[in-house]
């Protein structure tokens, strides 16, 4: 099953023999490159035309915000009403969890109701965790919540939790509704896919300003931005899950005379529930990812703590608040998984038989609330007993900085001089027409004419909206980071696939890396590697590593044991097993992992702009700081297009490999 042989055999060759195409392409590229020195429009897209798209978009948003009216009310009234509607549940949660309420009793007197004290929530959540997930989950919950209390993160965590408790249901419900709609209509589904791609890849900074204009400044806007970012996986998963419902089941429903609505609620959704939960999990994780950016527009909470302490360079404080976000994310995620397992399990095997769960929780909260109300001193955890490990972390970074800097610096300089700088120069030198042409040809070989046109059009869009240079810097930065992240990630994935224990360790580390706000490690990275591309690269690698590890391990673990056995029987040595059997079979999953790694790397571009890079991420950030809506959106769409080009090509390639290996 050597690669080159099968390639020539299975390619959709059409008329032109494959080698001639590639030779011709190569010749064209060299020719273009040589011509580029003399013919301006080959090298410099701005000499062809620069479409003033940014201006048009700015005007359109202005029109939306100021002029669009539906007669009785304006568009802005509509969005503001929506914001008001969302604010109600948010206020309820914040009152309950964090601020408490003051009820006027007439005249001067009023009754101050404190928020639910920490021990009530601790009791209720640990009880719930025990019922759903047993001792392990109980320990996780208790440890996480005690961490929040003891490290003085409780109040901020409750503010963050309040907005998550609203954003997640909204994201899940909205995502499901869109998914169902797309399931029912092929046309909607086709129209929705590129929109979802954009929602996921356009950096949030790009549409922050229009969201602020339309929905007002504050926690609600932050929540809406969160929902836009976190909803797409839910839509995708819903579409996929509904399509996966077995035809027999649908047939049965029809025979039983289900109406359309009954079909949905009684047949489709229940049987798709396990898959839908994957979507819920993604919404939770992505919502918590947004906590930092949300805090820049008034959401407060843990995100603000992270930002403010890093601004003062208090690395330890930032880490403690960041870790609180991670713990919240992991806890909520594990709880939602346990809940589903609990729902699926037979009633007889459940814990706490005969106890009405919700009554129990209500009782626990009520009793402890009254205790807290009568003895108010109990409900605030004494400040003297809080722990603070931040001096340790600050000192650790200082020690590394003072003693290891010379070595780190040497590594950095070697990589910069021999890898990063040459690649950057090369990328900036390639004429835009050559890149567009190459992408077109690759697209054509992998997916036919349609794909070629789409891919080339996206590249041309980037060039003709005046973002070519910055886009190439982004491609260079992400490209190198993705290669490094993939190498590390696939290697780690290989180790993780060896044993259950190694797998668990890998999953937990990867979860932590993904939910720990990247700001937390950005500052130490800058301290050790200075401002520049190298620091940006490290930050991207750290963040984008996760999917490579996850998918590789997953792909390797699901290779059927018979296949491995067959390999061993035919006398493969371990080395051969790896290169000839395991890796090729896991290739589709690994490729998907790399695909996701690319997406993650691109989504880090805006964050690395905060270190100091001169790429599309910086362009988006500058646009945000100058409030030029159109500029930001165009640069954001360019980032998205880079991602989409990579995604389309990789997906097409994987589809072909799968066909070759006849894997379903």
């Amino acid at each position: 099953m050597s690669l080159t042989d099968s390639d020539t055999r299975t390619l959709p060759t059409g008329i032109a023999p494959i080698r001639i195409v590639w030779v011709a392409t190569l010749a064209a590229l060299v020719l273009l490159w040589m011509l580029a020195q003399n013919v301006e429009w080959i090298a410099d897209p701005e000499s062809v035309v620069t479409i003033p798209l940014a201006g048009w978009i700015s005007d359109a948003v202005k029109w939306l915000a100021n002029d669009l009216t539906f007669g009785l009310f304006t568009f802005k009234d509509l969005t503001r009403a929506l914001a008001w509607l969302l604010e109600i549940p948010l206020t309820v949660f914040i009152t309950l969890l964090s601020s408490g309420a003051e009820i006027p009793l007439g005249g001067e007197s009023s009754l101050t109701l404190p928020p639910i004290p920490w021990f009530s929530i601790l009791l209720a959540v640990t009880w719930l965790c025990w019922v759903w997930g047993g001792r392990r989950l109980l320990l996780l919950a208790a440890a996480s919540l005690v961490y929040l209390v003891v490290f003085g993160q409780w109040e901020s965590a409750m503010v963050t939790l309040s907005s998550i408790l609203v954003a997640v249901p909204v994201g899940v419900a909205g995502g499901m509704a869109l998914g169902i709609w797309a399931y029912r209509s092929e046309r909607v589904s086709r129209g929705l896919t590129p929109v979802l791609d954009l929602m996921q890849t356009v950096p949030i900074f790009a549409y922050l300003v229009p969201v602020l204009v339309l929905f007002g400044f504050g926690p609600v806007s932050a929540m809406i931005a969160t929902v836009i970012y976190a909803m797409p996986p839910m839509v995708r998963v819903t579409m996929m899950a509904l399509r996966g419902v077995s035809p027999e089941l649908l047939e049965f429903g029809r025979m039983a005379g289900c109406t359309r609505r009954q079909m949905l609620w009684r047949i489709l959704l229940p049987s798709a529930r396990p898959s839908l939960m994957i979507g819920v999990n993604q919404v939770i994780m992505l919502s918590l990812n947004m906590v930092i950016i949300a805090s820049m527009i008034g959401a407060g909470g843990l995100g603000y703590d992270v930002l403010a302490s890093l601004r003062r360079l208090e690395i330890g404080d930032g880490l403690q608040a960041g870790l609180a976000i991670t713990l919240l994310a992991i806890l909520i995620d594990r709880m939602s998984q346990a809940y589903i397992a609990y729902r699926e399990s037979p009633t007889a095997t459940r814990r706490a038989q005969g106890v009405n769960n919700w009554a129990m929780i209500g009782g626990l909260v009520l009793v402890s609330y009254v205790v807290g109300f009568v003895f108010p001193s109990l409900s605030t955890y004494p400040e003297a007993l809080t722990l603070d490990t931040s001096p340790f972390w600050d000192e650790l970074v200082r020690l590394i900085n003072v003693h290891l800097y010379t070595y780190l610096d040497a590594v950095k300089n070697t990589l910069l001089i021999y890898l990063l700088v040459p690649v950057k120069r090369f990328m900036l030198d390639v004429p835009w027409l050559a890149v567009t042409l190459l992408l077109g040809v690759v697209g054509w070989r992998l997916g036919g004419l349609r794909m070629a046109l789409v891919v080339a059009a996206m590249a041309a869009f980037i060039a003709l909206t005046g973002n070519w240079q910055k886009a190439m810097v982004s491609v260079y930065l992400c490209g190198i980071s993705v290669i490094i992240a993939s190498l590390i990630g696939i290697g780690w994935g290989l180790i993780a696939a060896r044993s259950e224990r190694a797998y668990k360790i890998a999953v937990t580390s990867v979860d932590t890396l993904q939910t720990l706000p990247s700001f937390v490690y950005l500052i130490p990275v800058v301290m050790l590697f200075q401002v520049g591309d190298f620091s940006a690269m490290i930050a991207i690698v750290l963040y984008a590593l996760a999917p490579a590890v996850r998918y590789t391990a997953h792909g390797l673990r699901r290779i059927p044991s018979e296949t491995l056995e067959a390999g061993r029987m035919s006398g493969c040595r371990p080395r051969q097993m790896l290169w000839r059997v395991r890796l090729p079979l896991a290739l589709p999953e690994i490729a998907l992992g790399v695909n996701q790694t690319i997406m993650m790397a691109l989504s880090m571009l805006v964050i690395t702009a905060l270190v100091g890079t001169s790429d599309l991420g910086q362009e988006v950030y500058i646009a945000l700081t100058r409030s030029s809506v159109g500029h930001g959106i165009v640069a954001g769409v360019c980032v998205a297009f880079i991602g989409m080009i990579a995604d389309r090509l990789i997906t097409a390639w994987v589809a072909r490999r799968k066909k070759q290996f006849r894997i379903n």
């Binding site: 400044f217 820049m296 003062r312 900085n401 800097y405 905060l610 100091g612 950030y621 700081t625």
Partner: protein, 324 residues
């Protein structure tokens, strides 16, 4: 509890006199608060700004207004100020926010409310120990002799000057060219990244030259000096013949800049007295520097520092309140 007693003593005559005034001419002296609507003040992510905001907020609360603090990004806040979702942002720096403020004022929905009295200083800055190896400093003409000391492999043989985020402007590339400095300008992406690198170099006692500004904790916490360039005048930025380089502009240091509060224009009709009080707000660099030092260096909680200042400077803040 001598302290709280003293506090009571100083406050009660004032309260009494206010009460008397209120009785005597209720229509005039108690014009404020004109509205129960909360005044929404933005908290940005640096200590000095939060101190300024809470000082002003404390005074407004004394005047009887309801104040809400909203955490907001420095530049994203303008969108909220234009729509009236936010009422006032206390610190817009000429050096970093001038364009954004001008754009906002142009819409007619935002007004600048006087000046805070603080002065933004920003310039090339180096830690004092650098002087041992480069004794010619702080004079700018010594920079070229020591350029190599600041070099990194990427900039060598030129020195590496760490500038602020591109959005801050500052004309450092122009300055380097006009003064013929052997330096490359590297832009940090944010204030935090900039300061992280400064701290890192100081921990290792290695040479660094970077954009530092005041009021800020860095020049309070670390021993250092500003480079002395030819002093800024408007002519320097406009007239090539001015300054050491007869053919180029920007052959001088950076201008000192104002720091202004910016507010939603519509608010003047809702809380006129509050707007006047904000216009009257004034504090100097030295006092603000001391406050920032208390919080960032000594670890005092912000509110405690604010309360203490309000207690000790009652005459000052009383004078901000309009007396009709």
């Amino acid at each position: 509890m001598p302290n709280s007693d003293r506090l009571k003593c100083t406050r009660s005559p004032l309260a009494a006199s206010l009460a008397v005034l209120a009785l005597a001419m209720p229509a005039v002296a108690q014009d404020y608060p004109e509205s129960d609507r909360p005044i929404r003040m933005t908290i940005n992510d640096w200590t000095g700004q939060e101190l300024t905001t809470r000082l002003m907020g404390g005074v407004l609360e004394e005047m009887g207004y309801t104040v809400e603090y909203v955490q907001a990004d420095y530049l994203a806040q303008f969108t909220g100020l234009e729509s009236g979702d936010l009422t006032v942002g206390m610190e817009i720096w000429e050096t970093t926010g001038k364009d954004a403020l001008e754009a906002a004022v142009e819409t007619g929905n935002v007004v600048a409310l006087g000046e805070t009295g603080m002065e933004a200083i920003e310039e090339w800055w180096y830690p004092t120990y650098v002087k041992e190896e480069c004794p010619g400093l702080p004079d700018w003409e010594a920079l070229n002799e020591c350029a190599e000391m600041f070099a990194s492999p990427m900039t060598s043989p030129n020195g590496r000057y760490l500038g602020g985020p591109v959005t801050w402007g500052g004309f450092d590339e122009e300055r380097v060219e006009a003064l013929g400095l052997d330096f490359d300008v590297v832009h940090a992406g944010t204030d935090a990244a900039l300061m992280a690198e400064v701290r890192s170099a100081i921990q290792r006692e290695e040479p660094i030259i970077a954009w530092v500004y005041a009021p800020h904790w860095a020049p309070i916490q670390y021993d250092g000096e500003w480079v002395e360039f030819p002093e800024y005048t408007d002519a320097c930025y406009e007239d090539p013949s001015w300054g050491p380089n007869p053919d180029m502009t920007h052959d001088c240091g950076k201008p000192r800049g104002w720091i202004k509060p910016a507010a939603w224009a519509g608010g003047r009709d809702v809380w006129p007295a509050a707007y006047t009080a904000i216009e009257n707000f004034t504090i100097d660099n030295e006092q603000m520097g001391r406050l920032i030092g208390q919080v960032d260096v000594d670890g005092m909680p912000i509110q405690a520092a604010v309360d203490q200042w309000l207690q000790e400077n009652e005459d000052t803040w009383q004078s901000w309140i309009p007396q009709n």
